[in-house]
C-alpha cells in the first residue's frame, strides 16, 4: 500500500460524490455527528453498535459483518472511502476493521470531517438510500491484529509504539482529555514502548504529514524499521491511525494494531507497567 492507493483528498471526494462504484462511510466517536450533517451520499457506521459485539468485548464476527454490510448496501466490489471526526481516529479504526475482514479497496479521506468542514465544503442531513447487497467477508486477518499475549512477548523484542498523549503515556492521565478521567485500570505504559502520539503524524487540519516527515518522526522516537511493530493506545482507535501510517502510508510489512490496548493491558494482573516519561527496561 501507499499514499496513492490508501488516501484520497477532500477535492477527490467532492469530485466523486455521485460515482456509483464508491461508498462513502462516516464513522465518528460522537455517533450523533452524522445525524447533524454529513457529506452527501455518505452512510454511517456506528462503532459502538455496528462494529462491537454487544455482550462480549470483541468485534462483530464474520457473519455479523457480512449482514451489516449487506444491509447497508456495501458490496465486495465497492471502493469504500472512510472519513470521520477526531482527525479520522474512528475512520482509521474502521479502515483497519475493513482490512481485518479482507475488503480489498478501502481508502481514507485525508483530514476527515474536520478538513471537510474547515474547507467550508457542503454537509447535508439528507439520508441516502442504497440497495441491499450480498457481502462476503474473509476470515479475520490476524497478521494485522495483536492480542495481549503477543504484546507481553513483544516487550524488549519488537517495536511497541504507544500513540497516546504524553500525559497518558506517563500515567498522569488515564484517558484522552475530552473524556472523564476516572477509570479502573492502572496508569502508565508497556515497558520499552516508544511514545509517539498519533497526533505527531497529522497536521493541525487533520491531514497526514509527508512520508519523509513521518519516517523521521518514528525513526527519531526509536522505531527499528527492521523489526515487527505493535501499536496501541487506550481502546485501539488512535493506534489504528498510527497503524495506517506505518502500514498503509509507509508500507512497513509487519505492523499490528493491539485493539485491547491500555484498557486491557492496564487491567491485566501481573504484567509489567512503567510510570513516567521514559520507556523503561524489558
Amino acid at each position: 500500500m501507499s499514499r496513492d492507493t490508501a488516501l484520497v483528498s477532500a477535492q477527490w471526494v467532492e469530485d466523486h460524490l455521485d460515482d456509483p462504484s464508491i461508498v462513502l462511510i462516516e464513522v465518528d466517536e460522537d455517533t450523533a455527528s452524522y445525524d447533524k450533517g454529513h457529506i452527501r451520499n455518505a452512510i454511517k457506521l456506528d462503532w459502538t453498535t455496528d462494529l462491537q459485539d454487544q455482550v462480549r468485548r470483541d468485534f462483530v464476527n464474520k457473519e455479523q459483518f457480512e449482514a451489516l454490510l449487506s444491509d447497508r448496501g456495501v458490496s465486495n466490489d465497492h471502493t469504500v472511502v472512510l472519513y470521520g471526526g477526531n482527525n479520522n481516529w474512528f475512520a482509521a479504526y474502521a479502515y483497519w476493521y475493513f482490512k481485518l475482514y479482507g475488503h480489498s479497496d478501502v481508502k481514507l479521506l485525508d483530514g476527515g470531517r474536520k478538513k471537510w468542514e474547515l474547507d467550508s465544503r457542503e454537509l447535508t442531513a439528507d439520508l441516502p438510500t442504497r440497495e441491499k447487497t450480498s457481502y462476503t467477508a474473509q476470515e479475520q486477518d490476524h497478521s494485522i491484529r495483536a492480542f495481549r499475549d503477543e504484546v507481553v512477548a513483544a516487550i524488549g523484542a519488537q517495536n511497541l509504539v504507544d500513540v497516546r498523549s504524553p500525559d497518558e503515556y506517563a500515567g498522569r492521565l488515564l484517558a484522552p482529555a475530552h473524556l472523564p478521567q476516572e477509570q479502573a485500570q492502572r496508569g502508565g505504559h508497556i515497558p520499552t514502548a516508544a511514545s509517539v502520539p498519533w497526533s505527531k503524524a497529522a497536521n493541525d487540519d487533520g491531514t497526514f504529514k509527508s512520508d519523509e516527515e513521518l519516517k523521521e518522526i518514528y525513526t527519531e522516537a526509536g522505531v527499528d524499521w527492521s523489526k515487527d511493530t505493535i501499536a496501541y493506545c487506550r481502546i485501539g482507535e488512535r493506534s489504528s491511525h498510527t497503524w495506517f501510517v506505518l502500514k498503509e502510508l509507509l508500507g512497513q510489512d509487519n505492523v499490528k494494531n493491539y485493539d485491547g490496548s491500555w484498557t486491557e493491558y492496564g487491567s491485566l494482573v501481573g504484567v509489567p507497567v512503567v510510570l513516567g516519561d521514559e520507556p523503561g527496561e524489558a
Partner: protein
C-alpha cells in the same frame, strides 16, 4: 466553582471534584461558533485532545492540573491560541473570540 455553567454542556454524572475541567465557548462577533475545533495542547505544545464545538459554541476538556494551551480552528479564521491553568476540582472557564 464546581457546577456546570448555565447554558453550557451538562456535567450530569461526572464527579467534578476529581476532574480538572477546562471549558468555554467560541464566538465570532459575539455570536457562538458551532463549526470550530478546539485543540488542547500540553505544556510542551504537544497535542492532547480536540473537540468540535457544540451547537451553542461550547467545548470541554478533562485535563490534569497544570498549564495548557487551547488552539481554536474554524472555517475562514486564523488559529487562535489561549493559555489556561487547570486545577483538580476547579472548572476553568475560557471565552475565545475568533
Amino acid at each position: 466553582m464546581c457546577g456546570a455553567k448555565v447554558g453550557g454542556l451538562s456535567l450530569d454524572g461526572i464527579d467534578v471534584a476529581k476532574e480538572a475541567i477546562i471549558q468555554g465557548v467560541v464566538t465570532r462577533d459575539g455570536e457562538p461558533v458551532d463549526t470550530a475545533y478546539v485543540r488542547l495542547l500540553d505544556r510542551t505544545g504537544e497535542f492532547t485532545a480536540e473537540v468540535p464545538t457544540s451547537a451553542t459554541g461550547h467545548f470541554r476538556f478533562f485535563a490534569g492540573p497544570g498549564e495548557w494551551t487551547l488552539r481554536t480552528l474554524a472555517p475562514k479564521a486564523d488559529p487562535v491560541d489561549r493559555q489556561v491553568t487547570a486545577d483538580t476540582g476547579v472548572v476553568a472557564e475560557v471565552e475565545i473570540a475568533i
